[in-house]
């Protein structure tokens, strides 16, 4: 099912932080949403999630840090049960084992609370929880910035492999074009609460049109900085 949301907008304390925006994402598509901090990326992500949920589509969200996804007072098993319950699914140990195997979640006790797990495992658990209902769209907000690079790279590779033969689309929200460019086939650039550019990744990198996109492209790489 193609994901379509029209007229998404957000106004916070009298200031428009997201101008009316339409988003279309095809099944299985990988889309990057990039822009400077304060450009409205996360706001668009949240508005999109709320809208799609209201439209009855299955959408899952992975926040930046596991601290924003897990209750420190509740066990991991509780979180998992609750996520299943929220989707009206009956508990299914096989489903959990499959997801844990796919994301290499191992050697951690489900009866422990989040802080009894390493942060990398917490983040993988959050991703696994997001995939429980095989959502139409997975929204990831800066999924790697709270993790150490080795763990983050491993997690992204595992997720890529898991999604490769599935219909779940991915929206990757990040300020880092270098990260997004490796993972997505389409890039959207945000600036001041608007999507100012939307193009396939290769075309985008070769010929950025807007000033914001040009700046992102020019600063993509540490080794060849513009002067």
């Amino acid at each position: 099912m193609t994901i379509t949301a029209t007229g998404l907008c957000a106004i916070r304390s009298g200031r428009t932080i997201l101008h009316p925006t339409n988003v279309d994402i095809r099944p299985g598509e990988r889309v990057g949403l990039v822009g400077a901090s304060g450009s409205g990326k996360s706001t668009l992500g949240h508005a999109l999630i709320d809208r799609l949920r209201a439209q009855g589509q299955r959408v899952a969200h992975v926040p930046q840090s596991p601290d924003e996804a897990l209750d420190p007072l509740r066990s991991m098993a509780f979180h998992w049960r609750e996520a299943e319950h929220a989707l009206n699914l009956s508990p299914d140990p096989t489903r959990r084992q499959d997801l844990f195997a796919a994301l290499h979640i191992e050697g951690s006790d489900l009866n422990k609370r989040p802080w009894g797990w390493s942060r990398g495992m917490q983040q993988r658990f959050v991703i696994a929880m997001a995939l429980i209902g095989t959502p139409d769209l997975l929204v990831m907000d800066e999924p790697t910035s709270a993790l150490d690079s080795v763990v983050a790279a491993g997690t992204m590779d595992l997720l890529d492999a898991y999604l490769s033969d599935r219909k779940t689309a991915l929206l990757l929200i990040t300020h880092d074009l270098g990260l997004a460019a490796r993972r997505v086939n389409r890039l959207m650039v945000m600036e001041d609460g608007r999507i100012v550019e939307d193009a396939p990744t290769e075309q985008f990198l070769l010929a950025p049109v807007t000033q914001a996109a040009k700046s992102l492209c020019a600063h993509r790489n540490w080794l060849e900085l513009p002067c």
Binding site: A36, S149, L225
Partner: protein, 241 residues
């Protein structure tokens, strides 16, 4: 010249730094990379004398480091400032603390070099962008002409474009002022592009200490390779052909 000579730091029974030896001369940049918990922040604290070394010593030109009055740039630019104090007063504080007289020409020159519009100085820390606030943090660090500046994850609160802009300004200021700069970062791309040398810290030890270019091309240790490959995978480095 900064000399870290066989420094170990223990807290209770846990060893947070073990037998660290580094040196860093004027106008040089050393990047300390590693994962969280590797002891990067403890190393900065040990150099500044904020935690006692259980063995070894840290010196600047054979004298205690404190005597050279090193400066520190912190990770979170906004929380590094007193929110009730104007930025102008805040950036002048190192001078006040050292009993020095404020020199308007120097302030103007630094503002110019760091691309800070002078009227921003009259705002409060919450009234400027994060990138501007971090440039203010650098300005405050440099105002008293320290020979040694320590940067603790100076870019990690900034977005990708601002990171690169700020990194270039730091390098330009170093070129003009000639300070020795020690940068703690988890970003290998930044380290590779701007540091002369890279020290890989792991579980309190220096795993590897090499020229940054040779590290990117061929890390000497397995752990160094893991870090480099992860940076490639995440797009922080471009694959070297």
């Amino acid at each position: 010249m900064l000399t870290v000579d066989h420094v170990s730091v223990r807290r209770g029974t846990t060893v947070t730094l073990q037998d660290i030896s580094l040196s860093l001369g004027p106008n040089r940049t050393l990047a300390v990379v590693g994962e969280s918990g590797a002891g990067k922040s403890t190393l900065i604290a040990a150099i500044l004398g904020l935690v006692p070394c259980s063995s070894g010593q840290v010196t600047w030109d054979n004298a205690p480091v404190r005597r050279c009055r090193p400066a520190l740039v912190m990770q979170e630019p906004r929380s590094a400032f007193n929110p009730r104090m104007s930025l102008r007063r805040a950036v002048m504080e190192p001078l006040v603390a050292q009993g020095m007289v404020a020199d308007p020409d120097r302030l103007n020159a630094l503002c110019h070099g760091l691309e800070i519009a002078p009227d921003l100085l009259d705002r409060r820390p919450t009234e400027v962008s994060i990138g501007q606030a971090q440039r203010m943090g650098i300005l405050r660090a440099l105002i008293a002409k320290p020979p040694l500046v320590l940067f603790d994850e100076p870019l990690s609160a900034l977005d990708a474009v601002t990171q690169k802009h700020t990194a270039r300004l730091i390098a330009q200021m170093q070129h003009e002022e000639g300070f020795a700069s020690l940068i703690v970062t988890h970003d290998l791309g930044y380290a590779a592009a701007f540091a002369d040398d890279i020290a890989v810290l792991r579980a309190g030890r220096v795993e590897e200490l090499t020229r940054s270019q040779s590290f990117v091309q061929a890390p000497q240790t397995a752990y160094g390779r893991m870090l480099r490959d992860a940076a490639f995978t995440l797009g922080a480095l471009e694959q070297v052909a």
